[in-house]
Every structure is written in C-alpha cells, then in structure tokens.
C-alpha cells in the first residue's frame, strides 16, 4: 500500500452555514484501492465534507481534485458522472420499485421513445449484484429486502454508475456481526479492484479491521492523517477531542436542593430507550451526552409524554406520576425546549407575544377570557429579561434570528415556572453572543432552584455547564460521571460504547492480518 496514485484530494476546504463555521480547513487524500477512515465527534464537519465531495453543497474555499485535475463547481450530477458515490446509513432505495429498477435508475440510457430494455436491465442488475456478492433476486421489490441487503443493492447501483470513489457513511451502524463481516468482504474486494473508499464510522474498533489510513476531523479542521496500524483507540479519541476548552462557561456551583426528577428503569419501546435510571436535583444541571442516535432526544420526549413510557417509573419530587401526554408533563412542572426550534420549538407564523404565552394560556385568563394586557406585560418582561431582539412583541417569530427564536422558545417555558427544564441542543446553530447569554440564563435558573437536563452534542458545552454528565449509548444511560471525573476522553469513550478490552482484541486481530 501507499504507492497507489492519489484518486481524490480535498485541500483546505472551508464552509460556513449562516455564520456558523462548519469547516475551517478540511483536507483529505484518498488513494485508489484504499479504505480511508474519517472520524470525528458530532459536528466535527464530517457530513459537510461528504456533502461537498458529492456536490450537494458548494464549498466557500479550498480545492477538490480528482486524478490531479481540479474540479470547479461540483454538482451532484457532475460528482456522479465523475464516479463519486455515497452510501448513507439509511438506504435510499425506492421501496415500491424492484431491485433491477432501482439499480437502473440514473444509470440507464433509454432507447428510442424512452423504451426500456427489460432483459438488459435484468442482466445488468444480476451482474452488479453478483459483483457485490449479494444473492438477491433482481425482480423483488426493494422494500421487501432487509436493511443489509438494501445496502448491498445501493453499493451495486453505485458500481453500476462506474463509481471509483465510494463514500460509506456509518454503513455498519445497524448491521449484525454477520452482515458486517459480509460488508467488509465486499469492501475488501472493491479495494482489490482499485475503488477508493471513504469510510465513516463511530465504531472505532472496526477501523483497524477494515481501514488502511485514518483522518481525524475536529471543529471543521483536519487534525491528522495516519496509517491505521500506527494509531490505537486512545490516540484516536485524544485527537478527536484534544482541544483546550477555549470557550468560557459561566459555571458557578449552586447549592443543590431536593431531587426534582427521578427515573427508575424507564423505557419506551416505540422510541427505543430502555432501562433508564437517573435523577436530577433542584439547582443541578445534568448534561446528557451521546452520539447521534444514542437516544438522548428520545429520552426527553418520553419524559415529556410525547412518546409515553411503557416501562419503569417517573417520580417528580419523590411522588410517582403518570405522564401520557405533554399536558401531563407540564402539569408536573416539566418543560421541554426541543431540538430544531425552527420547525417545532416556536410557531413561526405567530407573534412573539403569543409564542411566549402559548404553554401557559390556562394561567392567563380572567373570567375565562385571555387577559391581553397581562399577556403583553409577560411577553415584554421575558423578551427583556432574555434580551430577545425584536422590533415589537407583535412581530412574527419568523422574522427573528435563530438565537432570538431560541430565546422565545425558552421564554415560553420559563413562563410556566418549570421545576425541571429539559433543553435539547439549546445553543445549536446560534451565534456566540446568544450562546453565552443562554448559558448565563441557565445559571440564573439553577440559582432559582430549577433543575436542568441539557442534551448537547457539543462536548465542551456538556463539560462546561454540567454538574454531572450522563452518557447514553444504544438507547440507555451507560455511565454517569461527576463534573470532576468528566474528561472529554472519558465521555467520548463511553459514548462510543464498546469496551476498551474488546477494541484491543480487534486491533490485535486486525493488526495481525495486515
């Protein structure tokens, strides 16, 4: 290895979304016949880099070259024509079409009058499926196939388009051991045929088995590219998190009060969380950490009654309660500021004032009718307290910036005077100023005795704001760390799930084979 020609090269690629810098300086070099692992925390910029390489997003700066030729203005169609294809964790086949039809889409040139050559279509699908070692009838509906089978069909389709660069985004995230082994076999065969593969995975223990080299991305910057044989898991984690806590968090210690929320063996089959035991005390911030898909938001939604629990107990101030809908949760003093506020945290087409009072209308009536004066006062009061920048409290929330919308979403729940405030990614995608204002507000709230459960994908935020850190993996809490014990390495290692010893054996096996 190592002498193969460079197939694809990204150099110092930068990209900002609405003022948030997703990529600062990302570089990646992929050789022909190489499996190149790409690792990094949530939000390190992996997805953005992939989107740029597949032409879905245009970079702000930097350079992409294929076979040494610089590619200006990559579009999805151009990327496909050049032989760059991506396979995502969730297969994107058309379930109602047959396997052969799925494979034919985008590959086939139609005959005269758009006529389809069914025999040729079937023959090609069978050949491509054979190439990825999949024993699948091309005439079956794609929707009938299992997940791993669909994945193979996608790879076959990608090969059918003449892909030389294959991007695999967490392909094994939901595969069994056997399916993973089969996928690896296909990957090795493709490698032998000279296909270059970028392999994204949170399962670090897989990497020594399948990858030749690894590139670590952190905060939108490429930290290092190493031969896989030269690094171990600890070193990788170190590179993924190894930053100084540059941001300053206004963390102060607050005397803790009684336990506000206690969960005992809580589970919800529908949303895939199980066996959750956790408590949050008044004045405490508990950070909920974990990778995307670990079940953090699902847990919050279960506590809030959006997907009611079907196992275990919820205790509020020591008393067992039943929460079957959000109104129940609100009645027990629980508030939830959801992720993705642009979609659901606020009602965009309603004024600031009506958004602020929406969850507390019951307390805002006089003789059954809404008290508009109190509504205005309340809205103006919270808008001022949280520093919401708006022309008027009558302005529609859709006219505000992201940070200000988030403050409106927060205000709505502060009005309800919650005992427990659950914040889901409270500062995601908002500017630095608004971010620290929200952190300051959180400290004020715990000072008043509110208990906070904060979900965040930003490790510094978790470590900087939390009194304790609960780490989730696979739908359950695998570890709860005190503030003093919560180091970036420990949190990430637990979020990644598998035990260190297991990793070592795999490294040994993979290293032995290489």
């Amino acid at each position: 290895m190592g002498e193969a020609p460079v197939l694809l090269r990204a150099t110092n690629v930068t990209k900002a979304y609405a003022g948030v810098q997703a990529l600062r300086s990302a570089s990646l070099e992929l050789r022909a016949g190489e499996v190149h692992a790409l690792v990094g925390e949530n939000g390190a910029g992996k997805s953005t880099l992939i989107k740029i390489l597949t032409g879905a997003v245009l970079p702000d700066g930097g350079e992409i070259s294929l076979d040494g030729a610089v590619l200006p203005q990559l579009s999805p169609a151009a990327a496909k024509a050049l032989g760059i294809a991506a396979i995502y964790q969730q297969p994107a086949l058309f379930p109602e079409l047959t396997v052969a039809e799925n494979i034919a889409l985008g590959i086939e040139k139609t005959g005269r009058w758009g006529r389809v050559d069914w025999r040729e279509r079937h023959r090609r699908a069978a050949a491509l499926l054979a190439r990825v070692g999949a024993r699948i009838d091309p005439e079956r509906d794609a929707g009938e196939l299992s997940m791993p089978q669909q994945q193979l069909v996608e790879i076959a389709r990608a090969l059918g388009t003449g892909a030389r660069v294959l991007i695999l985004d967490e392909p094994t995230a939901s595969l069994s051991k056997d399916d993973t082994d089969n996928l690896f076999r296909v990957v090795r065969e493709l490698r032998a045929e000279g296909v270059g593969m970028i392999y994204i995975s949170h399962r670090l223990e897989e990497l020594p088995v399948i990858a030749d080299r690894v590139t670590v991305l952190r905060d939108g910057t490429t930290i290092a590219t190493r031969e896989m044989a030269d690094v171990n898991r600890e070193q990788l984690i170190q590179m993924m998190v190894g930053r100084e806590l540059s941001a300053v968090f206004p963390k102060r210690t607050v005397p803790l009060g009684d336990t506000v929320l206690e969960l005992r063996g809580l589970g919800c089959t529908a949303s895939g969380v199980s066996d959750i035991s956790l408590s949050v005390r008044a004045g405490e911030i508990v950070g909920l950490s974990g990778l995307v898909g670990a079940g953090r938001s699902e847990l919050a939604r279960t506590i809030f009654g959006l997907t009611p629990s079907d196992r275990g107990e919820i205790l509020v101030r020591g008393k067992q309660v039943r929460i079957t809908c959000p109104a129940d949760a609100i009645g027990h003093g629980i508030a939830y500021v959801p992720e993705d506020r642009r979609r659901h945290g606020v009602v965009l087409e309603m004024p600031v004032s009506e958004n602020v009072t929406l969850a507390a209308l019951g307390n805002l009536t006089r003789f059954g009718a809404l008290d508009f004066r109190r509504e205005r006062e309340l809205a103006a009061d919270y808008a001022q307290r949280l520093g919401v920048k708006t022309a008027s409290i009558r302005s529609l929330v859709s006219t505000l910036s992201g940070g200000n919308q988030q403050k409106v979403a927060l205000s709505r729940w502060l009005v309800t005077k919650p005992a427990l405030l659950m914040l889901d990614e409270p500062t995601q995608g908002i500017d630095v100023g608004a971010k620290s204002e929200i952190h300051e507000l959180m400290m004020e709230l715990v000072g008043e005795g509110v208990a906070i459960l904060m979900i965040s994908s930003e490790l510094p935020e978790i470590l900087g704001m939390s009194d304790r850190v609960a780490v989730m993996h696979g739908g359950t809490i695998v570890s709860v760390l005190d503030r003093a014990d919560a180091t970036p390495e420990r949190v990430l290692a637990r979020a990644l799930g598998e035990k260190t010893s297991e990793f070592r054996t795999l490294v040994a096996a993979g290293g032995g084979a290489a």
Binding site: Y17, A18, L306, C325, P326, A327, A329, I330, Y336, P338, R343, H344, G345, V346, V347, L348, E349, M350, E354, L358, A359, L361, G362, L364, T365, G368, A369, L370, R412, G429
Partner: protein
C-alpha cells in the same frame, strides 16, 4: 402611523375581499340602485344567514388546516329532522336545540375519524357527504316533510319578527365566534394547531382534541343553520343544502383565511359570504345573464387563492419570480 391604519394593518388579509365587495356595491349603486330596495336586502340577508353560520364553522375547520365537505349533507339531514320533530309534536323551542345536538353528533363522527384516527379530512368528509345524503334519500324516499304544524313556519311568530330574529341569531353567533377565536385559550390553540400542529403538541396542546372540537362545533352550527333555513317555508325538502359545502369553503377562502390553516378571521368570512352572496343577485340587477353567476364565483375563488399565494411569496422572497435563498442545512 395613525391608530386607524394600525388597526387596518392587522386585517390586511381581509382587505382585498372588502375592497371587492365595496366595488361591487358601488357598481350596483350606480347601475341599478333598486338593488338596495328593502325587500331585496331582506331576501339577501335571509338567504345568507344560514350560509354565514355554516361558513363560520368552516372557518374553524380550515383554520386548523382541515376541511369539511359534508356540511351540505348534514344540512339536509338536519332540515328533515327539524321538520319531523315539529311534526311529532316536539315544542318548537326545543326543535332547534335537538337539531343542533344532532348536527354536533354528525360533526363528532367527522371529528373522531379525523382527529382521533388521523384520517385525511377531505376523504372522511367526502365519504360522509355521500353517506348522509344517500341515507336520507333512502329514509325519506325523496318525499318532503309536509303538513307541518302552524308553529313551525316562522317559529309561529309574525314573519317580520321571525326574520329579524334569524338575522339577529346569525349576527350574534358571528360576534361570539369572533370574540372566542381572539379571547379564549381554545381559540388561540386553534391557530397554533393550524400553523404547526407538531409545535402546538410540543407546547402541550392536544391537537387531536382541538380537531375533534372544530368538527363537532361545525356540525352544531350546521344544525342551527338548517333550522333557521327550514322555518322560512311550510314544507321541508329532502334535498336541501346541495352545494352548500362549496359556498361555505368559497366564502372562507375568499375572506382571506389561508387554506393551509393558521391564518384568518371570521370578519373575513363575513365579507366572503356577503361578496359571494351579493354578486349573483347584483349581476341580474346589472343585466348580466344569471348563467354567468357560478362562473364568476369560481373566478373570484381562484382570484382569492392566487392573491394569497402572491402575497405569501412577496412576503417571503420580496419578489414574485426570484427563487428564495436556499435554507442552510
């Protein structure tokens, strides 16, 4: 800005139909002042009072982002029921109450299917439109309800008093609906569900209950409308209310309520009812063939939808044809 303009600014969605209504009335005033004769105005009011009541219900349904096209068939069932109840000797003051309950029950069926089961309202109410209509046809075999007691027509009152009462009831319901939408938590919840039902759910609003409620209330209003319409005559037809759903939906949409829900007022609906209700009669007064009336009404509805889309586009992009900025992530 002067206070009056501020006030108008809050009602900018109602402005286009209001202007159109004024234009129609002015044109008629010039071309055929006899339109404003007392008997014509009274007929207009009596004809449109039931339509207004149904359209008020439809406003609620459309505000939450649903639709109810079964109102015409419900109306027919309620009309026949009113006649049969009166004929069976039920005191005339009780008839409206019972018919309203019947209407609300039929509306509740829609509400259960749409709200609780989450079925699409257009299909549910289409099925109900056919089901109620044909059940009625089967039950009555097309026969009208005749030989009604004296107390039925005009509630047994003097016609003038009864006519005033009918119009007064419609106006009172209009005012109550307007007040409730603005001043009750339930009204606010309705707008929230119509704007973004997931966001409303996250704010603790039970959107299924809201949806159930609007269909049930609409059924009740249809029942009231049916009684107020039926008492104008001395017999009840078994095929009343054909096309009523179109009149109601049209009035609501023309009145500036967004067909996608979340925005609109009952004031707009009143304007819509008046505009669509007068334009047909006005045309005959001006000398245009009445055969054009339906086509013109259709054009008005289309114009209202196009105007709404254009306004929304202008608000969002500042221009009609430029594509909006691509949303980040």
């Amino acid at each position: 800005m002067p206070r009056v303009l501020l006030h108008l600014g809050r009602h900018k969605r109602e402005m286009p139909p209001a202007v159109a209504l004024l234009a129609v009335l002015l044109a008629v005033l010039v071309a055929a002042p006899s339109f404003f004769g007392a008997s014509n105005l009274r007929d207009l009011a009596l004809n449109n009072a039931p339509v207004l009541l149904v359209a008020l219900g439809m406003t609620l349904v459309i505000l939450v982002g649903e639709i109810d096209i079964s109102v015409g068939s419900q109306f027919a069932v309620c009309s026949v029921a009113a006649g049969l109840l009166a004929k069976a000797g039920v005191p005339i003051v009780l008839v409206p109450v019972l018919v309203i309950v019947l209407g609300a029950a039929m509306g509740s069926v829609n509400g259960l299917l749409v709200g609780s089961l989450g079925l699409p309202s257009i299909i549910v109410t289409l099925a109900m439109l056919v089901a109620w209509r044909d059940a009625l046809r089967w039950g009555t075999e097309g026969a009208w309800v005749q030989d009604l007691p004296e107390s039925f027509q005009w509630f047994g009152l003097a016609p003038g008093a009864a006519q005033a009462l009918i119009v007064l009831i419609a106006v009172v319901v209009l005012v109550i609906a307007g007040w409730a939408l603005r001043n009750l938590a339930a009204g606010r919840n309705l707008y929230a569900v119509g704007s973004d039902d997931e966001a409303a759910r996250l704010a603790g609003i039970d959107s299924r209950r809201v949806t159930f409620g609007v269909f049930a209330v609409t059924g009740g209003l249809v029942g009231l409308a049916a009684v107020l319409n039926a008492v104008r005559f001395n017999a009840v037809p078994s095929n009343a209310g054909i096309g009523l759903e179109l009149q109601a939906v049209a009035a609501v949409v023309v009145g500036g309520t967004a067909i996608t829900g979340g925005r609109g007022t009952v004031l707009g609906t009143l304007i819509g009812v008046l505009l669509l209700g007068t334009i047909g009669t006005a045309m005959t007064y001006v000398g245009i063939s009445p055969f054009w009336a339906k086509a013109i009404q259709g054009l008005i509805i289309l114009a209202a939808l196009v105007a709404d889309a254009v306004l929304a586009r202008l608000e969002r992009h500042g221009s009609l044809f430029r594509r909006g900025p691509v949303a980040a992530r």
